[in-house]
């Protein structure tokens, strides 16, 4: 009881200070900005014939009222839903009447009632896909192309890899580490790039930290808890394979999310070349998943499960990205994927360090080859 009261004293004092501050209107600090501080995030664009609908979020400190909107130096009429001031962190859908033309670029400037301009750009106008069974099928197909299919293709290397010796096995594991590190770096970079578009209340870097470190620590904790149970080599290998596919799955979720939202806006570069590039790059992910299982005899069911775990989230990601994507979610999932793949790389590193005392250059060349492999295949899709 006494401890409780001791804990409560600073809290009570804090209440007093806040009350004092509020009652005196700043307690002597008369710090009012010359112009109101306002901030808007553009979260989603939906284009239909003769209209452009923008979902905006008020990321400023105070409620925000809209003024007028100019598209490409033309004042255009609009309706806002809900109408009236947008509360802090609240969203509104602004539907602008404008006869846009497919393939053209549009600069949209939104002036708030306080005459503060915020702008967004539509790179190339295109009809937004309606949410329908056909769209869902398209999303599923994209997820299948860029996620599931390549991972499974990679898994089919298993019979060939079985023929390799123990050194080759170590090299392969090192290769996987290289792949994962590269994916992790890439995802971190993409998360940081994307967070630049988030309003300050989202605290992009903090969000990336929580997602990345959170995923890393969680997988790490899971591996430590599990390792107490069984510790024969076969089950260790299987657990590692499972974690690799979990990590890759989380990574593919983030990737799918980005592709899905771009596809919905007609901005996705999903040409033949791009999709082939994706298949080529992600096929290496399948390779990574089966690397620890070269010496095992996994069942078909188990392999299929690993493939789905690694590739399937790409489908879920495209759905989420296409239907409900908000940028903060994209950033968070990218960070989650980054943390996950980096933890798995770390895990495999510990695993082969324990096993192979020799062969430092095997590991060096393996890791570097893995990174180089993704770099080269990345040229196709970046």
């Amino acid at each position: 009881m006494k401890t409780f009261i001791l804990f409560l004293i600073p809290v009570a004092l804090l209440g007093v200070v806040i009350a004092l501050f509020v009652l005196t209107g700043g307690a002597g600090l008369n710090a009012k900005p010359a112009a109101p501080i306002e901030s808007i995030d553009f979260e989603r664009t939906e284009m239909h014939e003769g209209t452009i609908a923008l979902t905006i979020r008020n990321t400023g400190p105070d409620p925000l009222s809209l003024g007028y909107i100019a598209i490409r130096d033309l004042v255009a009429t609009y309706t806002a839903k809900p109408s009236g001031p947008i509360p802090r962190m609240g969203t509104a859908i602004i539907t602008i009447a404008y006869p846009w033309v497919r393939g053209e670029a549009y600069d949209i400037v939104l002036f708030t009632a306080n005459a503060i301009p915020f702008s967004t750009t539509i790179g190339a106008a295109a009809e937004t896909l309606p949410v329908s069974a056909i769209t869902m099928l398209s999303f599923t197909l994209i997820g299948l192309y860029v996620g599931v299919l390549p991972v499974f293709l990679g898994i089919f290397w298993l019979p060939a890899l079985r023929k390799l010796g123990p050194n080759a096995f170590t090299w392969l594991m090192a290769l996987t580490i290289g792949l994962l590190i590269f994916l992790g770096i890439d995802a971190v970079a993409e998360a940081f790039e994307k967070q630049g578009g988030l309003g300050s209340p989202f605290q992009g870097p903090g969000l990336i930290g929580i997602g990345g470190i959170g995923a890393f620590m969680l997988l790490d904790a899971l591996s430590k808890r599990r390792s107490l149970a069984k510790d024969d080599e076969a089950s260790t290998n299987e657990r590692i394979a499972l974690r690799i596919s979990m990590g890759i799955g989380l990574h593919n979720l983030g990737e799918g999310l980005a592709i899905g939202s771009a596809f919905m806006l007609g901005e996705a570069n999903l040409g033949m070349f791009f999709v082939i590039g994706f298949i080529l790059q992600n096929i290496t992910e399948g390779l990574g998943i089966i690397a620890p299982l070269v010496k095992q005899k996994p069942s078909v069911k188990y392999l299929a499960g690993l493939g789905l775990l690694g590739g399937g989230p790409a489908i879920v990601g495209t759905w989420l990205g296409g239907l409900v994507a908000i940028p903060a979610m994209s950033v968070f999932f990218l960070a989650l994927g980054a943390g996950a793949v980096l933890e798995v790389a770390f895990e495999i590193g510990k695993f082969i360090a324990k096993k192979s005392s020799a062969l430092p250059f095997t590991i060096f060349s393996g890791v570097l080859s893995g990174m180089a492999l993704l770099y080269v295949t990345g040229i196709l899709i970046k």
């Binding site: 014939e49 009222s65 130096d73 009447a97 002036f111 069974a133 599931v148 299929a304």
Partner: protein, 341 residues
Amino acid sequence: MRKSARKNSVLPVWIGVPGAFLVCTILASCFEAAPTTVSHTSDMSSVHTTFMPGYSQDLGVDGIGFDPMAILEDFDYGKVSTLLDGRTLREYWIVAEATTVEVAPGVYYEAWTYNGRVPGPTIRATEGDLVRIYFTNGMMHPHTMHFHGFHPAEMDGVFEPVLPGASFLYEFEAAPVGVHPYHCHIMPLASHISRGLYGTFIVDPKGGWPKVDREMVMVMSGIDLDFDNTNDLYAVNFIPFYYDKHPIQIFIGERIRIYLVNMLEFDPVNSFHLHANFFYYYPTGTSLVSAEYTDTVSQVQAQRGILEFSYQFPGKYMFHAHKTEFAELGWTGLFEVRDRP
């Protein structure tokens, strides 16, 4: 043993995944044809014909703080008296003040005004009249009134800044005949003018102009809402789209004279284009002989002139800057022409 296990474990997946993939592809390609054909054949004309730029809501005189329709035909001849030498004396009282003006629905701009309106009062005198302007600065920055026309250096409103709360008497003879601007001449000039410190000064010839039915003043300008030295909105008589939402009512055959002044900052050239009609143009209004018969005239900063025209047919006719960007950002208006009652 090893061999068979491998076969058993891999083969079904080898067939199953590409199989599922193939089925999905075929399914998708079956559906694909439908939406694309629909979007290509759809008729967009309904959207195009109804599309006009403008605000989502109307602006009222209450929010604006003055009546742009009244400004159009509000000529201030001053307090008139006769001097001992027989000349006419015209006296004006003008205060510079900060006025909050609703320039777009819900968007309030702190304009700097002469007598609470932009453009400021249209000061009108006859050539040779003595003009006295009692100017008071009711703002927190120094301001002046700089008239285009003939006057001594100390009446030029450049080197005699009128400090906050102070007053100044401008006195000069109205000359030369024509339509001229006046504006504040305190640095930074672009800001002081852009904020709204300008107006029209008309010097009528002795005996007056040829008779017309109606006279109007139109001052072209821009509004730089976010102070980045780029105009965000454009207008005649300061309020974007005002005469578009509230067409100027005129009659068939009515002879219209427009005193047009360009006070646009930041952009180099402005223009005036009249629809379905031509007008006689008198540059600066300094000659009674028309220089041009046209439907479009351009003016650089502080250029001005007089336009004369009348309409033959009833209906709505646009007038706007033929720099269409300006037109779509507010510098657009309408004449609504009716039969004489």
